[in-house]
């Protein structure tokens, strides 16, 4: 398989291109995704290649984009709608929670809704309150949704392809801070990275750091710079989370730090922490600590104070290491 160096935007674009070439049931829809190629350029060139019947520049209505995609999916198409910023997905929450997530259940399994809802999320691009949010918990809290978030170009493409080939709706959260943050060799053809499997990004004995999305590189930088002997788990899929990978690591280290950018209260870190204590409190030498965004909106000018950084991650790691 030939490969090319790609950033995350290019990798996603390549994944969409592969999917569309292979399967005419794939339809893209969203705001500014056609002529403009998407405000982040993820769908660049796809309108020219696949035509306006398969790449729909829609009016400005997220609830309509999602609802229409659900209708397409139920009738056998494989839509991949884009919501321009995750912050605006909230105007489509009824369709997501009460339709998308419940089609299979409410029809006794007669109908299904295989689709991938893509959207950029997270801070770090100076977007302020409404272009920075990390709302993964809202989706994780809704049974029926699969929640995926990549942390590298290679993972982004492989996970997108798996998500699109599944049988259930997937919320595909793209960490926009990483869109152009780095390049990697990415195969030009189709390949899959399994949904529901975490990646052990680096292995160590002293502590388990569990993270995902845009925090993965920050955690890895911290680990490398400070020579931490840590297991670093990139969850990649939040729902269903890879319990086996987590428990295996916890059994080994007995010390856990969870890092995410979303606010602490009701954040996904709490869920992981509960899961670990329910299954393995006996393995733990220290309380599980969370390093998260604060329980406040995301400020524009003072953004750097919001996103977890090396100092905060290191503090938490030291604390759990010091516990007897």
């Amino acid at each position: 398989m030939t490969s090319k160096t790609m950033n995350m935007v290019q990798a996603l674009n390549s994944g969409l291109d592969n999917l569309m070439a292979a399967d005419d049931r794939i339809i893209l829809l969203g705001e500014d995704i056609g002529t403009d190629g998407g405000v982040f350029r993820v769908t660049d060139g796809l309108l020219a290649k696949y035509g306006a019947e398969r790449v729909l520049d829609t009016p400005l209505v997220e609830v309509g984009i999602v609802g229409m995609a659900i209708g397409m999916a139920v009738q056998g198409l494989r839509p991949i709608p884009e919501i321009q910023f995750q912050d605006f997905i909230y105007t489509a929450m009824d369709q997501i929670i009460n339709q998308m997530a419940k089609i299979r259940y409410r029809s006794g399994g007669e109908y299904e809704c295989p689709m991938v809802l893509r959207t950029p999320y997270g801070a770090g691009v100076k977007g302020g309150l409404y272009h920075s949010q990390s709302g993964e918990s809202y989706f994780a809290h809704t049974a029926g949704l699969t929640v995926v978030t990549p942390s590298s170009p290679y993972d982004a493409k492989g996970l997108l392809i798996s998500a699109s080939k599944g049988e259930d709706p997937v919320i595909f959260l793209e960490p926009k801070r990483l869109y152009r943050a780095g390049k990697q060799e990415v195969p030009e053809d189709i390949y899959k990275i399994p949904i529901g499997k975490a990646e052990l990004v680096q292995s160590g004995d002293d502590v388990t750091i569990i993270t995902y999305g845009a925090m993965v590189p920050t955690v890895m930088d911290t680990v490398k710079k400070n020579n931490l002997n840590a297991d670093v788990l990139d969850l990649r899929t939040l729902v269903p989370v890879d319990k086996d990978a987590i428990m295996l690591s916890v059994q080994k280290t007995g010390r856990v730090v969870i890092v995410h950018e979303a606010p602490r209260t009701g954040g996904f870190g709490g869920e992981i922490s509960a899961m670990i204590t329910e299954r393995g409190i006996d393995f733990l030498y220290a309380p599980i600590l969370r390093v998260t965004g604060p329980d406040s909106p995301i400020p524009y000018r003072m953004e750097e104070y919001y996103v977890p950084n090396e100092r905060r991650i290191l503090n938490a790691v030291r604390k759990v290491l010091e516990s007897a």
């Binding site: 009016p59 309150l129 409404y130 602490r264 524009y300 905060r312």
Partner: protein
């Protein structure tokens, strides 16, 4: 008698029109300053307002001091005309410690409670139902004021547009909907946003819908004045489709060459400022010398104020965590201790 009246109205009209033109010029000058500062990395982001000056100033001319505006991210000309200090705009763009919202919001998201300009949100059109609530509050308190809400052509596709329009009509609220129809929603032309003329949408809610030439401030003023008078008189809401043109990019992050050819050039005869100048001259309210003076003053004001605002330091980091609630929760207190 009639002659006398005409003369009187001309006497009050002249300064009013000159002031309107001055606000448009000030806004345009500031717009260009911010865009060029953004290119130099002195400003993070901005949504230019070029092309929408006349429509906004026309609406503002028809408003009274205590009327409320539930606007959106392109309303600088209206704010300046209403008397919002230019520093309020610049400090917001800079997100510095003098900014009303303490640097919390991305540029172009203004607030001015003093001049009744509700703080701007990013999600398109969610100000419309709020405007209905605000109008209800005015009506309930038997105030003689009205609410104006502004939004783009793209906003007309949203459920919030429908909700706001329907509620205003059902409760016969003192609310005027001003669609700043600049022809584009980022890359989508208005013809692809909706296949009908936006003014026609009003009839579905049982309210009047009027088209106005939003490039002509006098025309716009007259249309807005009629709608606002109706609202004030208890006759209910109106939708104004203010036909204009987004002369700049959607924002400083946008590259319009991907999707359109720029067809309204600054200084061309379609430019609302050029139209305004011609009007003033034809009415004999101004001559080239006066117009020139207004333009020069605007440049001076903008340069001075911009430089001064740029020197203002950033907000104290603690302010990023305040005003979430009236009192800080214990959770946030704990988090802030770890962060700062």
């Amino acid at each position: 008698m009639e002659q006398q009246q005409k003369k009187e109205s001309k006497q009050s009209e002249k300064p009013q029109y000159i002031r309107a033109y001055a606000a448009m010029v000030l806004s345009r000058t500031l717009d260009k300053k911010i865009v060029s500062a953004q290119r130099q990395g002195r400003v993070g982001f901005y949504t230019p307002t070029m092309g929408q000056e006349a429509l906004q100033v026309g609406v503002s001319m028809a408003l009274e001091k205590e009327d409320l505006v539930y606007g959106y991210y392109r309303d600088v000309p209206m704010m300046l005309h209403r008397g919002v200090p230019i520093e309020t705009i610049i400090n917001q763009i800079m997100g510095n410690s003098a900014d009303t919202a303490k640097g919390r919001q991305m540029p172009s998201h203004y607030t001015s409670k003093a001049l009744h300009f509700m703080s701007v949100q990013s999600p398109v059109a969610s100000n419309l139902p709020l405007a209905a609530g605000a109008a209800y509050a005015l009506k309930y308190r038997q105030k003689k004021n009205v609410v104006v809400t502004t939004f783009g052509d793209g906003a007309t596709s949203t459920p919030d547009f429908h909700a706001g329009m329907n509620l205003a009509a059902v409760f016969k609220l003192p609310l005027v909907f001003v669609c700043e129809n600049n022809g584009w929603a980022i890359s989508l032309p208005v013809e692809r946003q909706t296949p009908v003329e936006i003014s026609l949408k009003a009839s579905a809610y049982g309210m009047p819908g009027v088209k106005a030439d939003g490039m002509n401030f006098v025309e716009m003023y007259k249309v807005a004045r009629a709608a606002i008078q109706d609202a004030r008189a208890g006759k209910g809401p109106t939708l104004i489709d203010a036909l204009s043109y987004r002369m700049g990019p959607h924002s400083t992050s946008d590259d319009p060459t991907k999707y359109r050819k720029d067809d309204v050039k600054e200084g061309s005869e379609k430019d609302p400022l050029v139209i305004g100048e011609k009007l003033l001259i034809s009415m004999d309210y101004a001559d080239d010398k006066l117009l020139e003076k207004i333009r020069n003053e605007a440049v001076k004001t903008v340069d001075e104020r911009f430089d001064a605002c740029e020197k203002i330091p950033p907000p104290d980091p603690i302010t990023a965590f305040q005003d979430v609630y009236k009192n800080m929760t214990w959770m946030l207190e704990e988090e802030v201790k770890d962060i700062l």
